[in-house]
């Protein structure tokens, strides 16, 4: 089983999968830390699920709108959806992030209800648009459960670009992000543009969950986003170190999960989550033994 990994690396799709896992762990470690510390798990879930509407839109645009615009024939030669669903998901998740963020900021109460509603509407829109799309939609499941083994080179570049954007923004805005994470009232008094930075943060969450969806699927995005950070949070004494530890843990879980899925021929997204989950439970057990 152990010698399966070097053999597996002979395949381009395995190398792509490993690279994707490692790259996504950077984004999810940084953003996951903020999500866990600032307790934004629910709104992150809302953004991720609303993004499903965008996947539907991507399919619909590719299979129904595009052939219509091109008067048929031209686009139908390529049966694969390409990057349309991913682009749709990005668009939708960014929209959901801004809308949910503004609602959360403006309304005093019931923000969680509204987020829950948008969460469901996003998914419903996605399902209906896919129903309405013509042609091949069988790989839809890959967005629910992930398909790290099908990651293409262009998507690796996309994830890399996202990593760079997140690292640059978080470094540049670190003192403000730390301040709104710890004490929004004080940050407001110090004239930090709290609302604007919060919306930027939600947009970063949106982009992160979209690329993570490719790896572990929509259903398990939140688990992968939060578990490494939750483990790191039990030991880390400052947020920067918690981010670095989350990245390393995320990479480890992805590589181990990927290897197990290859060796046993099981779904990669699920094995990555299971490895993370076992590690998380073990860290809780160790933590309770220590105290």
């Amino acid at each position: 089983m152990i010698d399966a990994l070097p053999g597996a690396l002979g395949y381009a799709f395995m190398r792509h999968a490993l690279a994707a896992g490692v790259l996504v762990s950077v984004a999810s470690g940084i953003i996951g830390t903020i999500v866990v510390v600032k307790r934004m798990v629910f709104i992150s879930g809302g953004i991720a699920h609303a993004a499903y509407g965008g996947i539907g839109l991507g399919y619909y645009a590719k299979y129904s709108l595009l052939p219509l615009i091109l008067a048929g024939g031209l686009a139908t030669g390529d049966q694969r959806p390409g990057s349309w669903p991913l682009l749709g998901a990005m668009l939708f998740s960014l929209l959901a992030a801004v809308v949910m963020g503004v609602i959360q900021r403006r309304t005093q109460q019931r923000a969680d209800t509204i987020i829950g509603v948008l969460w469901a509407i996003g998914m419903a829109v996605g399902i209906l648009l896919i129903d309405l799309s013509e042609g091949y939609t069988a790989d839809l499941m890959s967005y629910l459960f992930g398909s790290i083994l099908a990651v293409e080179r262009s998507e690796l570049l996309l994830i890399l670009g996202l990593d760079v954007a997140i690292v640059v923004l978080v470094v540049l805005l670190y003192k403000e992000l730390l301040a709104i994470t710890f004490d929004e009232t004080f940050a407001t008094v110090e004239n930090v543009p709290v609302d604007a930075i919060y919306i930027v943060l939600l947009c970063l969450i949106a982009l992160t969950v979209v690329v993570m969806m490719r790896i572990v699927g929509l259903i398990m995005v939140i688990a992968m986003l939060t578990m490494p950070a939750a483990i790191a949070g039990q030991y880390a004494r400052d947020m920067k170190r918690m981010m670095v530890a989350s990245i390393i843990l995320g990479m480890t879980f992805t590589i181990v999960g990927l290897w197990l899925s290859y060796a046993w021929n099981v779904t990669s997204g699920a094995s990555i989550i299971l490895v993370s989950g076992v590690a998380y439970l073990a860290s809780l057990a160790v933590g309770s033994l220590r105290s």
């Binding site: 403000e176 730390l178 004080f186 008094v189 110090e190 004239n191 004494r237």
Partner: protein, 264 residues
């Protein structure tokens, strides 16, 4: 009431404020002058936190005018060092004491502008003033409530404030630590910082502040040291013991109801 000899740093004129249709502050007017050390007491739910939110520009008044350092609160709050109440269930955030204190420099640095060595020196000095310098690398969650309170004071001091605004500075602190907090405030006040604090704890306040007022929706403040019996009776519907220098010198008649409620 007016004091033309000193600069007016806070001015509230006929301020009404609250949430929805129910004003918590009714027609509040007062002035604070440079060098004042004011304690406002009042029952929970009497509008103490609301008044602070108005002064900090976090809650626009429904009516009336507020000026802080001669400007609207949104600008004038630059001159304020705000110390919130330290509560038991503060978030378990992985952030060091020094990082908390350093947030006091946020208002002096723009977006994308990192903290400077001068900021670090100011933060270190603030931490020394509250005797937390040796604990600067500890996570804030490891500190006791009293220490956390001092960390918040250090954060406020790091803003280099003209005015210190404190919300229940000693509410969950043991008596010894609370004396320490007031000694520190006294010292800062001697150095020229105007101090305004709100609390429901009459006992500890009257022996430390220069002037007192009572706030229970309406404000009774005359810029004097003594609390008159009618001021207190208007503010408090319940029994009150007034202490000065640790000795009770006035006790008001006991009523039956003890209707204090917790404030959010």
């Amino acid at each position: 009431m007016s004091d033309p000899g000193r600069r007016e740093v806070i001015s509230a004129r006929n301020v009404w404020a609250g949430y929805g249709n129910d004003p918590v502050l009714e027609d509040v007017s007062f002035s604070a002058y440079e060098g004042d050390f004011i304690g406002l007491i009042g029952p929970n739910g009497g509008g103490k936190t609301t008044l602070l939110r108005v002064l900090l520009g976090l809650l626009p008044p429904q009516r009336g005018e507020v000026l802080v350092a001669g400007k609207p609160p949104e600008e004038g709050r630059q001159a304020i060092g705000y110390v919130p109440q330290a509560i038991e269930f503060d978030r378990d955030v992985p952030i060091s004491v020094r990082d908390v204190a350093r947030m006091g420099r946020l208002g002096k640095r723009r977006l994308l502008q990192p903290y400077t060595a001068a900021d670090d020196a100011i933060v270190a000095e603030a931490l020394r003033q509250v005797e937390l310098y040796d604990m600067r690398d500890r996570p804030i969650g490891d500190l006791s409530i009293g220490q956390r309170q001092r960390a918040y004071i250090a954060r406020a001091l790091a803003t280099r404030p003209e005015i210190l605004l404190l919300d229940e500075p000693t509410s969950s602190v043991d008596p010894q630590a609370s004396v320490g907090v007031y000694d520190l405030l006294r010292q800062l006040n001697d150095d020229g910082v105007t101090v305004l604090l709100v609390t429901h704890d009459i006992g500890v306040i009257s022996s430390h502040v220069k002037t007192v007022g009572c706030l229970n929706r309406q404000l009774h403040y005359h810029g004097t040291r003594d609390l008159s019996a009618d001021m207190l009776e208007q503010a408090y519907p319940c029994p009150v013991e007034l202490l000065a220098h640790g000795v009770p010198h006035r006790v008001f008649p006991t009523h039956q109801d003890n209707g204090q409620e917790e404030e959010g």
